[in-house]
């Protein structure tokens, strides 16, 4: 994101709603992290509050994706075989394009538990059909299960950072006209 001209401020996982707003961000990136998302309910609460603002663009990857899923009301579960490696094919459901991605996760967002009226499936893993990405249908939130930053791994997913920045810019434009 820095390559794309963003200035970044990194906050700890336990940062509160107020801590985050104090930074006055144009967008919030939910990073990856280890393990099961279920016990990280404090973060889910914070995300849910941020979502209620309806104006702050959110982009989550890996654990960040799972937390976003939970904040949107979905369940998460442990995969029988976790995804590890730099060769997982993921299809972008909007375009049909396949991206080779880096993956390292043992848990997954349960697509069936999502409120389909609000949230769309954007990416699917072609190995086992599991959910790999979601986006809110009307609000500026989206997330992917794989690692678009890919270090190490293929750079195929980097377009998502462009998508996030476009979302941030659009939101800023909207914000300024509202003001």
């Amino acid at each position: 994101m820095r390559e794309r001209g963003c200035s970044l401020k990194v906050l700890p996982a336990a940062a509160s709603f107020e801590d985050i707003l104090a930074v006055d961000p144009d967008g919030l990136f939910l990073s990856n992290g280890p393990g099961d998302p279920a016990p990280v309910d404090y973060a889910v609460d914070t995300i849910r509050k941020l979502m209620e603002l309806e104006t702050l663009p959110l982009f989550g990857i890996c654990l960040g994706h799972q937390l976003m899923g939970r904040a949107l009301g979905a369940r998460t579960y442990k995969l029988k075989f976790g995804h590890h490696g730099a060769n997982h094919p993921v299809r972008d459901e909007a375009t049909g394009r396949i991206y080779i991605t880096s993956q390292n996760h043992g848990f997954c967002v349960d697509g069936d538990s999502l409120d389909r009226r609000k949230v769309a499936t954007t990416h699917v893993n072609l190995y086992d059909g599991t959910l790999e990405g979601i986006a809110h249908r009307s609000l500026p939130f989206f997330s992917v299960q794989f690692h678009p930053e890919a270090g190490p791994g293929p750079h195929d997913g980097r377009y998502l950072f462009d998508r996030f920045i476009a979302l941030v810019n659009r939101q800023r434009l909207r914000g300024s006209t509202h003001a």
Binding site: N87, P89, R91, L126, G151, P152
Partner: protein, 1086 residues
Amino acid sequence: MPKRTDLNKILIIGSGPIVIGQACEFDYSGAQACKALAEEGYRVVLLNSNPATIMTDPDMAWRTYIEPVTVDVVECIVEKERPDAALATLGGQTALNIAVEASKRGIFDRYGVEMIGADLAAIEMAEDRDSFRTAMAQIGLDTPMSEAARSMSQARDISRKIGFPLVIRPSFTLGGTGGALAYNAEEFEVFAARGLEKSMIGEILIEESVLGWKEYELEVMRDLRDNVVVICSIENLDPMGVHTGDSITVAPAQTLTDREYQDLRNAAAAVIRKIGVATGGSNIQFAVHPKTGRVVVIEMNPRVSRSSALASKATGFPIAKIAAKLAVGYSLDEIPNDITKKTPASFEPVMDYCVVKIPRFAFEKFPGSDDTLTISMKSVGETMAIGRSFKEALQKGFRGLETGLAGFESPFAGSGNPDYDRIDVMLLSRPSPDRIFHVRDALAAGMPVDRASELTGIDPWFMDNMLEIIEMEREIVAAGPEGLSGELLKRAKQAGFSDLQLGRLVGIDEDAMRVLRTKRGVLPTYKSVDTCAAEFEAVTPYFYSTWGDEDETRPGGDRKVMIIGGGPNRIGQGIEFDYCCVQASLVLRELGYETIMVNSNPETVSTDYDVSDRLYFEPLTLEDVLNIIEREKPRGVIVQLGGQTPLNLALDLEKRGVTIMGTPPSAINRAEDRKLFKELVDKLDIRQPESDTARTFEEVERIVERIGYPVLLRPSYVLGGRAMVTVWSGAELEGFAREAFKASLDHPILIDKFLEDALEIDVDAVADGTDVIVGGVMEHIEHAGIHSGDSAMVLPAHSLGPELVVSIKEQTRRLALELGVKGLINVQYAVKDGDIYVLEVNPRASRTVPFLSKATGTPLAKIATAVMAGISLGEQGMTADPACPFFAVKESVLPFSRFTGTDTVLGPEMKSTGEVMGHDPDLGIAFGKSQIAAGLDIPYGGAVFISVKDYDKAAVVDIAGSFEEMGFEILATAGTAEVLARRGISVTSLPRLDGGRPNILDYVKNRSVALLINTPSGPKPRQDEVTMRSSAADHAIPIVTTMSAARAMAGAIKAMRVRGGAFQVQSLQELFQHRQRGFNHENRQK
């Protein structure tokens, strides 16, 4: 996207004969494409002139045309068959060039044929180096500085601009023919002129040299939805400057960081998208500067390539098959990965092992040629090895090369370990087949890795690994046989050491070493090549050995047969034997057996994982094969189909209790051992040229005195006539005898009376112990004395009377039954003055089996295999000898243009790399087609140059006469001219090369001569003859070096002229309509 339903019939263009740079990897890719398209319900129309291929088996396509791969023939077939589409991306550069030409001539447009795979625009952008460079610049990728030239003056201007050293590459050729590196203006003149001539469009590219840069290749696939996946990365151990076909290569890339690799991956995806190869595989080459890291794109092949075949075998991902499916409209995610069945093909294979490919060379067959490795490919085959580490794979690769090495040993052993700074640095800086061994010696002598790396351009990481092998050797030597603990042995095995190699180090033999190792509990384990590093279960069993703790093989049932393949291709042992092995596997599976294939050659169809039930990609050494046998416990092993390689293992395997199927190994010995052979023919009352064996030169002299000159000298137990020579006088005897002793290793050399001007005959037959069927009696066009692998052959034998044919068949039957042959047998005869002499008996598959099978519509290798499985000829319904209802001519293809400076003359040592077949009801046309298929421009007029040795002068008169009658101008050297003039032929006499101008070289260079007829004066030809012949070869002017070939050529020209150069094409299915045979169900149950 589902497959296209608007297509019905698809034309696949094959790659023609095996030549250097284009070998059986295209049979592998073409065969996969045929199968994949047939599986999808398309009707495949196939064109390929090479009868030795699996793809030209009539079962592989709906219509199979074994016809010359030329634009005219493509037009004939398109007109006749009206295909909807043409797929030219799986037949190498030949198919691509032909398709481009056909497309430009409007043939495809005229008949509404769509080019699928890659279209004309994409091919041209990738192949025309100027447009390629521009395209790369547009996507922000760097290429070496370069400019195209269409004339010498333009070329000189460019050379001044860029500066030396310079690379000169002709546009539109295959395997880098004519490509060269010039260090100075003098070399530049020569190479640029040659390049302009070799290019199909008279254009060369002059490039900044990236000599010494690191070289990488990425195998990329793209579908119609613009999805791109990288199948494999390959790193060349030898840096830029050596053709990738001549480099030792390693997969996956070993010395890149993830970031560097991802940069290449991104660049590769950008390249394939820019060039616009919409569906299929491409190979993209990069050079990376070792210090600055600057990356340049070298080239892109908009087609499946040699490296794709290697990548397929290295990863288990069938690139050609998937490419064919993408070409008919599927996207990657719609095609399942064969290996896992459950996951899609839209992924990138992962390797949890290391693969090393090592090329095999044949410089010893081309005396006088320079063995420096350049950007023009010269190797004739390759072996691939798989191991858990680079060290293990490298050592397995060297023993898989079958050149006598048991691992990464130095063939120069015994020279001691000199002080490293006394080592000739040229041996390290000049790339050659032996450089890797000099590197080894230098490292062993203490040369620092950095210094060796600087001299060779080989990455220090590889050097470190080589050094570790050397250090481990020292540890083993120090330990001695008693000190070899289980722990040390296991480490050694994991570093790739073979039992033979370990035994050599500690001074015990291979068997003792095997016993010791087994006692220490160090045993091999097998791992699978599964595309996914065991992430998913592999359905397809494709294995390699290593020395781990866990074995991934599953034992299977008990009806198992093992087939040992032919190993790396070499001159004399190539695709023909792979054809036989594949046929065997197919028929055994039909008969209800599980088949186990063992081979080490990545180019082959036999190492396609769906040809057999289990594939072991292993070196074909006694140890490696025995290990698999111990693991699999097959009922029997087939050794008679893979050429000399498995045959050499037969006795050793039998001695260790392995069941050899078919002909017993003792028969091999009886046929090879001259003394036993003599007893055999005497017993059967069959005539043989006088012969004897010798172990010393004194014995040779005594024998020659007895039987008289000329004699034929040859080593025993070699294939392809290695070091075989006709000796005409005492002056030459000692030198040639010495060569023969050297090639014969421990065995005696053979001396035969040479039958001058005898007609040579080749026969292949199948026997079951009671009955024999003779597949065909083939007549050589060249007389005895030319190796059967280099000679053109005609079926049926047209100049033998029916009685002689009957007696030849009869003798063959007696030989087969007496030897107890169960399976194939090949016999070579000479016929002189109505007498039949047996020259050689080989109780095994021969090079001519596929040709005969295609020409008679009879699958001889399958029939032989069924015999080995216990089904008699009678039970198979084979009661009569098959017939060839037309004339079929097999012509050999020679690699002389690769070996500048070598003589182009044929002799008892085989030199050809491949073959083609021409067929027609008329013999002249059949021969003519074979010549066109072999790449010759048949001259219909112009000048013929004739210069023959005294012996041939009488015979040449008729030939010259028929050329004169056809309106050719006759040129001749003084001696020949005199004879011709005396017989009333009008002839222009040319001076000898040193006797004035213009001489024949001027005619050759000006292309004002259309054909050369020149018979060599003796086994050690005069220098001026060699100059003339090699110059003709360089200028692609046809040259015939035997009287019989000249006669056949005259006949062909005459026959072709009558029809204005046009000829009919016919598919095998039309020729053999009534002969679609298979095995019936009763036999299957046996």
